[in-house]
Symmetry: C2
Subunit: 429 residues, 2 copies
C-alpha cells in the first residue's frame, strides 16, 4: 500500500496516543502518508487528550472494520472475545490489514485469525501485544528468521516485576506494595490478570508460537503468578545470591515439542534477567548460530504501545525496495556536523602532577580560570617517576570550557605527560 | 521474490557460516526456499569448513554480481573500495538485491549505493554491518519508524570493550592485554581499525543516518579510540564510581543537525552501558514517545554475523501479508505441551519448620528420599509463631524428583503452611 487509511477502534490511552502520533507524523520516519479515516469508541463524548472531531465517527467497531473508507483496521478495544474479535474477523474478511495491541485476543484466537488473514491475503500485525515498546515480535519473526531459536525467556509483566523488586527493596509485604502500586497506577484496580501471571502467559504464548513455528495452544501454557510470593522468599533468596523474578519461558523439548510457561524463577544475581528492576520488560532469545540477543525497554504505557502500533503501520507500506536508510520522502534531510562545543556534561579528568608543593593548587586554579569547578578529586601516591596521579570529576560545564581548561592544564609546568579527558554520561537511568 | 538465488562473494568465516545456514535452512524459519546459484572468493582451493563444490564457481565477484543465474548478491568481501564496491554497484545496476556485512563500504559510500538501489528498484540491506547478530539496523529503520529518535548510543566494538573490561579486571596495562587478545583471536593481528575507534565509527555513522534521516557524511564523524586509555585511568575512574567505555553516539543538536562520534566516555557504574563487559555489543535508542529500548548481543563472530545476513535474506521474500506468526511452508508444525517433568535444574525451596528438635533432620531426609540433595541451606530465627524459615538451594535434580520431594515436605508434621518451590535459572552468562 502507498497510502494508508486507518480505522481506529478504541480511544483509550493507547488509541489517543496513536491519534497523536498520526497527527505529528511529519516528525516520524514513515515511508508514506497515514490518514485516519474513521474512529470508534464506547463513549463518543468522553474528554480526550487529542482532538478526534475531524475524523468520521462510527458507533460500531464492526461497521468501521468493514467500511470502504479504510484499508487498515486498528483494534485497541481489548478482550479476547466479544466486540474486538468480531470486528477483527470482519476486517480481515473485508480485506483490511489488521493491527492489534490485544494480547488476549492473539493468545486465544491468533491461530484462526492468522488463517483468516492468510485466506484474505492481508497482514495481521500485533507488535504492541507483547512487551509494549520493545519490538520483539518483529525481531523474532523477521530479523531472526535465520536463527534456529532454542529458548525464549522474558520478563513480560511490568506490574509483577515492580511488585517483586519493590517488596525486596522496601522490605514491605505483598499486600502493602500492591496497594501502593495501585495508588501509583502501576497496577490495575483489579490486578488479577497481572499478578496471576495470565497477562505474561498471553505474551509468552505469542512469542513461543513465533519462535518455534508452533500451533499456539494456550490451554497448554502453565501459569503461576507472583501472588504466592512472600517477602520472606525474596529475602532468603537474596541472601543465597538469588533474585526471584516472574519469568516467561518458551523452549523445545527433546521430543521437539514446545513448553511454554510463566512462573517465578530464582535467578542468580549476575544473570541479565535478574538485573531488570521496576516496570521494565526484557526478552532474551537464545539460538543457533546466534548465541543470545536481549531486548529491554518499556513494556507498557500509552506512548511505547502507540509507537509499537505505529511501527506496524509503517510495515504496511509497500515494503519492496524500501529506501536503504529508511528515509521518508517528506523528510527534510538532516546533516552530519562535528560535535557541538556548547554541549554540557560533567567530565573525568586525569593528570599526572610533579610531586611538589603547590602543584594541586595550580591545577585547580587552571580549571577555575576556565570556569570548570571540581565535584570530586582523588590524588594517589606518586609513581616511580615522582608523578602523582590526580583524577577529577568536574561539575557540569560545556565542552568549550573543558577544552579551554585542558589547554591550561597541558601548559602547567607541574603536569607530566598528556592529561586524559572524557565526558561523563548522565546517570539518568 | 518467492525463490531466492544467492550469489555469495567472499567465503571467509562469515561466508562459510552463511553457506552452512543455507544448507540447513530446513531448521530455520525462512518464508521460502533459498538456493546458492554461485560463489566466488579470492582462493578457490582453500580448505573450508563447508563444501562449496556443488555451487557454480566464479573467478570474479563482478561477473557473479551481474550473472543472470542470481537475483540476490551477497557481498562478504570487505573493504570500503576496490572489488567489493565495484561488485555491489554492478549487482544493483543489474537489478539484483544486495546484502552486505561491509560496514566500511556502507559508511563511506552508503548514500550513493542507496541511491543506486532506489534507481534500480531493488533492496540494499546491511543488517550484518552493525553489531553482528544484534538486529539493530532493521529495528531502527522499520520497527521504530514510529518513534522520533533523539539519541542513539552504543558499544559497537567488542575488541575495544574487551580491552577496557579486561585491563581493569586483571589490572594489566593496555599492551599486555592487547597482546593476549590477539593471541586469543579477540583482536586482529593489525588491531588499528578496532582500537582507533574507526570500526565503531563506521557502525555509528550508519545508525545515525537511519535514526535521524540524515545524509551519511563520514567525514563529519569525530573518532577517538581506546588506544590512549591507560590502566591508571580505568582504575581512578573505577574508584570514582565510573566505568570507562568506548561509546558510539548519535544525536540531534538544537539546530536540528546530527552529531555522530566515537569516544571513550566515563559511565556511572549503574548505567546499562557500563555493565556490558567482554566482547558484547549494546545499542540504546532513546526517543519519543518510546522512552529507551536497548538491544544486547554478540557483535561479531561468523555465526551471529551469518545469521544477520540470513535475516536480510528472509526479508527479500515477498513480504506482503507474511504469515502472522511467520510460519514457513516447509515447517513441520510443533505442538505446545505442558512442561516436561524430566527437565533438570537446581531448585530454591523455602519451608517454615516448627521450632523443635529433629525438624531439620526430617526435612533433609524427606528430600534425600526423593533423590534431592542440598547444596546450600539457610535457617533463620523462628518468627512470632515459633516457625523457623528454612531456605534450601538443591543440587540439580528433575522436576519430577522435586515434585515428589515437595509432596513429602508438605506431609511433614513439622512443616508449617505451604512450602515455596522455584526452579533456579542456570547462571551461564
Amino acid at each position: 500500500m502507498t497510502s494508508l487509511k486507518l480505522g481506529i477502534a478504541g480511544l483509550g490511552h493507547v488509541g489517543c496516543g496513536l491519534v497523536d502520533l498520526v497527527q505529528k507524523q511529519e516528525s516520524l520516519r514513515l515511508p508514506g502518508k497515514v490518514e485516519i479515516a474513521g474512529v470508534t469508541a464506547r463513549n463518543r463524548n468522553r474528554n480526550r487528550p487529542v482532538s478526534t472531531d475531524q475524523y468520521e465517527w462510527f458507533d460500531d467497531a464492526t461497521r468501521l472494520a468493514e467500511d470502504d473508507s479504510i484499508n487498515v483496521f486498528v483494534e485497541l478495544i481489548g478482550g479476547s472475545d466479544g466486540p474486538a474479535k468480531v470486528a477483527v474477523e470482519t476486517a480481515l474478511k473485508s480485506g483490511k490489514a489488521v493491527i492489534t495491541a490485544n494480547k488476549a485476543l492473539i493468545a486465544m484466537h491468533g491461530q484462526e485469525l492468522a488463517e483468516l488473514a492468510r485466506e484474505n491475503g492481508v497482514d495481521l500485525l500485533f507488535e504492541a501485544s507483547v512487551a509494549g515498546g520493545v519490538p520483539v515480535v518483529r525481531v523474532l519473526r523477521d530479523s531472526l528468521a535465520g536463527v534456529e531459536v532454542k529458548r525464549v525467556t522474558g520478563i513480560l509483566n511490568g506490574t509483577c516485576n515492580f511488585l517483586a523488586s519493590e517488596m525486596l527493596a522496601s522490605r514491605r509485604p505483598y499486600d502493602v506494595v500492591l496497594a501502593e502500586a495501585q495508588r501509583l497506577g502501576y497496577a490495575e484496580a483489579d490486578p488479577t490478570l497481572d499478578v496471576s501471571g495470565m497477562d505474561a502467559a498471553h505474551k509468552a504464548a505469542i512469542l513461543a508460537a513465533i519462535a518455534f513455528s508452533a500451533d499456539l495452544d494456550f490451554s497448554k501454557v502453565a501459569v503461576r503468578g507472583v501472588d504466592g510470593v512472600e517477602l520472606l522468599d525474596l529475602d532468603l533468596a537474596d541472601r543465597l545470591g538469588l533474585r526471584i523474578k516472574l519469568i516467561a519461558e518458551g523452549k523445545i523439548t527433546k521430543d521437539d515439542e514446545v513448553v511454554c510457561r510463566v512462573e517465578p524463577l530464582a535467578m542468580p544475581t549476575g544473570h541479565p534477567l535478574a538485573r531488570v528492576n521496576g516496570s521494565l520488560n526484557m526478552v532474551r532469545v537464545e539460538g543457533e548460530p546466534l548465541g543470545a540477543v536481549t531486548l529491554t525497554g518499556p513494556g507498557a504505557g500509552p506512548g511505547p504501545t502507540a509507537s509499537a502500533v505505529m511501527g506496524d503501520v509503517a510495515k504496511l507500506f509497500n515494503p519492496i525496495a524500501r529506501p536503504a536508510f529508511g528515509r521518508a520522502e517528506h523528510h527534510g534531510i538532516r546533516k552530519f556536523v562535528f560535535a557541538d562545543t556548547d554541549e554540557r556534561s560533567a567530565f573525568f579528568l586525569r593528570v599526572r602532577l610533579a610531586d611538589r608543593a603547590g602543584a594541586l593548587a595550580e591545577l585547580t586554579e587552571a580549571l577555575a580560570e576556565s570556569g570548570v569547578s571540581v565535584d570530586k578529586l582523588l590524588q594517589d601516591s606518586a609513581d616511580e617517576n615522582g608523578a602523582a596521579p590526580v583524577a577529577i570529576v568536574t561539575h557540569t560545564c560545556s565542552r568549550r570550557e573543558m577544552n579551554d581548561a585542558s589547554e591550561r592544564v597541558r601548559e602547567l609546568e607541574s603536569s607530566v605527560g598528556q592529561p586524559q579527558i572524557m565526558a561523563i554520561e548522565d546517570s539518568t537511568d
